[in-house]
């Protein structure tokens, strides 16, 4: 093997960890806030989309979107490969790869949070009866009878 592998006990690993631990904590906090915000903003739309797809006979896989499934799978496996694979330091030491790994992990976290939330919304008895959910905003333009809700 051409280059020495960095092990968790090596100085190289400790240096990298000390430089990045604070940044990582802040990043994690910001990411968590961002994910919560994204999940919150997308749940309604996704729940309605799921309900509409269900009413038209789509399978669960197609309802949830193939692309998001791929993102979740990649996002779930990429960090594992990066940190626990045969070359643990090789991937994190390359900034681009680190960014991609982090991005995929965030996407996976988003997907893993958003989906159960949306499915929960869709499965609520009231949501099922009304099926596609209602818009809270009523637009009274042409076609509406003014004065009615």
């Amino acid at each position: 093997m051409g280059r020495a592998l960095a092990r968790p006990s090596s100085p190289q690993w400790r240096a990298w960890r000390s430089q990045t631990v604070v940044t990582l904590w802040f990043s994690a906090l910001l990411a968590a806030a961002m994910i919560c915000l994204l999940v919150w903003s997308s749940v309604r739309s996704r729940a309605r989309s799921l309900a509409v797809h269900r009413a038209h006979g789509f399978s669960p896989f197609r309802r949830h979107g193939r692309l998001l499934a791929v993102v979740a799978a990649l996002g779930g496996t990429a960090p594992l490969i990066a940190f626990f694979g045969p070359h643990p330091m090789a991937v994190p030491d390359i900034p681009l790869m680190r960014a991609i790994t982090t991005g995929l992990a965030l996407a996976a976290a988003f997907a893993l949070l958003a989906w159960p939330a949306a499915v929960w919304c869709e499965r609520r008895p009231g949501a099922r009866a009304r099926s596609a959910g209602g818009s809270t905003v009523r637009h009274r333009l042409e076609g509406d009878v003014h004065g009615s809700s």
Binding site: S49, H56, G57, S59, P125, R138, G143, D144
Partner: protein
């Protein structure tokens, strides 16, 4: 709570000479949140006819429609279509029924606000496995049929209530269901839009579909072949 008066004008058009029951419900019973919604709900909905289900608010008309369309479950009872029991269907069979048999017109239109009109319509086309190159033509034809043109790229959230209902109608036309279940389809629509909704529902019935409408609207009731009143004790003929 005052019960609304029963509609006074019910026009019945001639039913087929030998009505063939298509959708039959027997002894449906529903409990929601520990409260009994209705029981002993039995009825037959014939192909080629429009049935209005009328009743006071909160009696469970929407829930009954959702149960008929297998979007919700009944506590007990059976729903059959052409003799096949649907109540216990699951998975692939149920998806097939939603894809090819049942079509819904929701009170809130059932559109995804963040999607364009075209994308909302595509749901029905993709469900029916219409090839991509045919979709644009079909979308345009359906939108023309409901009097909407030039909104293909408009987001659903930007449409008025009447326009949203017309998009939902266009989606129903593209879906071509054998059983149409419409929940208050004319609520908050003006006369012109309500008339269009009624026309499309009548067209579905004339094409051989079973059409069941939950409504308070006399414009819909007068255009129905059969009017049933839903009460806690069941479905009854409303004169």
């Amino acid at each position: 709570m005052a019960r609304p008066e029963a509609p006074t004008t019910i026009r019945r058009t001639a039913a087929p000479a030998t009505p063939r029951p298509r959708l039959v419900v027997s002894d449906l019973y529903a409990v929601r949140s520990g409260r009994e919604l209705w029981r002993n709900v039995s009825a037959a909905f014939d192909a080629g006819t429009t049935t209005s289900i009328w009743g006071p608010s909160g009696v469970g008309k929407s829930t009954l429609l959702a149960c008929l369309g297998l979007l919700d479950t009944v506590t007990s009872g059976t729903i059959t279509l052409d003799g096949d029991e649907l109540t216990r269907t699951r998975g692939r069979t149920r998806r097939h029924l939603h894809r090819d048999v049942f079509g819904f017109l929701f009170q809130d239109h059932g559109l995804v606000d963040d999607w364009t009109v075209a994308k909302n319509l595509d749901v029905a086309l993709v469900a029916r496995r219409v090839p991509r190159r045919q979709r644009a033509g079909r979308r345009s034809a359906a939108l023309r049929r409901v009097g909407l043109d030039g909104v293909r790229t408009t987001k659903a959230s930007r449409l008025s209530g009447g326009e949203r209902q017309r998009v939902a109608l266009a989606r129903l036309l593209l879906h071509e269901p054998r059983v149409v279940l419409a929940d208050e389809p004319t609520a908050s629509l003006d006369d012109a839009n309500a008339e269009m909704v009624v026309d499309v529902l009548r067209a579905f019935a004339e094409g051989g579909a079973v059409v069941v409408v939950a409504t308070h609207d006399e414009r819909v009731i007068t255009a129905s072949d059969q009017v049933l009143e839903l009460a806690g004790t069941g479905l009854h003929e409303a004169r």
